[in-house]
């Protein structure tokens, strides 16, 4: 069996195809930002998660510290249970406050962590006690209208 120019062309084709896949993975996709470092799990209960989705980012002071790994309904409490995996490099105090925020007016929802002042740190499997649910636009408008109506009837 001899090497032919045909083999060269096919080889170049295969190399180009694999290179295209690698470019797609690195430049277009998020493989380069995949978190390979160790993580630990935290749970938090929210009365309403709004439009939060699995893989949503978890930020503290605007820095990405982890990802939402699961959202389910806890039928004992009838609240949404959100499981998060946080980068091992970032430790948070026990009384850390978790709130569901929106990036921009119509952007994606994410969880913001505001650290408290406790000396003890959260460990793997712990639960965040202080949470604030997502803002639901309909509720906000409803409350706004209600307040306006109440203010109008008071001034009479």
């Amino acid at each position: 069996m001899e090497r032919t120019t045909l083999d060269l062309w096919v080889g170049a084709f295969v190399v180009a195809g694999i290179a295209a896949l690698v470019i797609l993975a690195m430049k277009v996709g998020n493989l380069s930002t995949y978190n390979v470092s160790d993580t630990y799990q935290l749970d938090a209960y929210f009365t309403n998660v709004g439009g939060l989705k699995p893989k949503a980012s978890i930020k503290s002071a605007g820095v990405l510290v982890g990802r939402v790994t699961g959202i389910s309904l806890d039928t004992n409490r009838y609240e949404a249970k959100v499981t998060m995996s946080i980068d091992q490099r970032y430790q948070f105090p026990k009384d850390t406050f978790a709130s569901i925020l929106t990036s921009g007016l119509l952007g994606e929802q994410y969880i913001g962590l505001s650290p408290g002042g406790d000396d003890k740190m959260l460990k793997n499997g712990d639960e965040l006690k202080h949470t604030q649910s997502a803002m639901v636009l309909e509720n906000m408008i409803g409350r706004f209208l209600y307040d306006k109506a109440a203010a109008g009837s008071n001034s009479k």
Binding site: V10, G17, I18, A20, L21, L24, A25, V28, G29, N30
Partner: protein, 262 residues
């Protein structure tokens, strides 16, 4: 009795269609069973990869670039109305990686390489080369059909990846270089939106499925073609029509399974 004649014709056609489907299934299984030789003598497969994969490169690369450029232009015009031009990168990349890359590359592959495969095998049969092989105790499925099948299955995902990559490049040229969308947000929004496993690997999986469908249809149509000039030309047309329909229908089914509820 014309009514009875029509009913007879319908019945005849239905039985014929089922018969043909069964034959096609057996042909496909035989191809899989006898594909050992196409890996043991890999040079056979490499030769076919040259004719199916390398020869389709130009059309795939040019088409990919222009599809990406059109996506960039149309996406920009639409997104501009909502003031979210920065999402152009994620729009271009997601549409290419999930749908347009695998589907359009497969459609082009079917009309470029699939039709050629059908015509080649149909003509081999018409000129009794296939029969000659059988007389010489060479299995035509192992020698002719299986290498072409595996060459198509290997080439298809590579071509689709090239199509998507060139498409993203085309979108970048139109969106960032010509129109002036911010380069940083173009790439960062794209990377935030495209997930490696969920989007890119599912796109690759799609193109593998399309590769199997297109090559299996092309090879069977060629092998089943009546050994006449008319028969071969009809088989070539059927290859393009059937593979295009198969690609689009399979794409709907695969999309429904892969991307539902996300």
């Amino acid at each position: 009795m014309p009514v009875l004649k029509n009913i007879k014709a319908i019945g005849h056609r239905s039985v014929d269609a089922v018969w043909r489907l069964g034959y096609a299934t057996r042909f496909f299984l035989m191809t899989l069973v006898y594909s050992g030789a196409s890996f043991r003598r890999f040079s056979l497969t490499v030769r076919e990869m040259f004719f199916t994969g390398v020869m389709s490169l130009i059309i795939i690369l040019v088409a990919g670039t222009f599809v990406g450029m059109v996506l960039g232009l149309q996406g920009y015009e639409t997104l501009k109305r909502y003031g979210s031009e920065s999402a152009l990168g994620s729009l271009v990349a997601l549409s290419l990686v999930r749908e347009l890359g695998p589907v359009l590359a497969a459609l082009l592959f079917a009309s470029r390489a699939g039709s050629a495969m059908t015509a080649e095998i149909g003509l081999m049969k018409a000129t009794e080369q296939i029969d000659a092989m059988e007389i010489m105790a060479v299995n035509p499925i192992a020698r002719v059909v299986a290498p072409r099948f595996w060459a198509g299955v290997i080439s298809m995902p590579l071509l689709a990846a090239l199509f998507s990559a060139l498409g993203v490049f085309g979108g970048y040229v139109v969106g960032v270089v010509l129109i002036g969308v911010d380069e940083g947000s173009f790439w960062s929004q794209m990377q935030a939106a495209v997930d490696f496993q969920h989007d890119i690997m599912n796109g690759v999986l799609k193109s593998v499925v399309f590769g199997v469908a297109v090559t299996a249809i092309s090879l069977f149509e060629g092998y089943d073609a009546p050994p006449t000039a008319e028969g071969v030309s009809g088989a070539t047309t059927r290859t393009v029509v059937e593979s295009s329909l198969a690609i689009l229908i399979l794409d709907f089914i695969l999309t429904a399974f892969m991307f539902r509820g996300s």
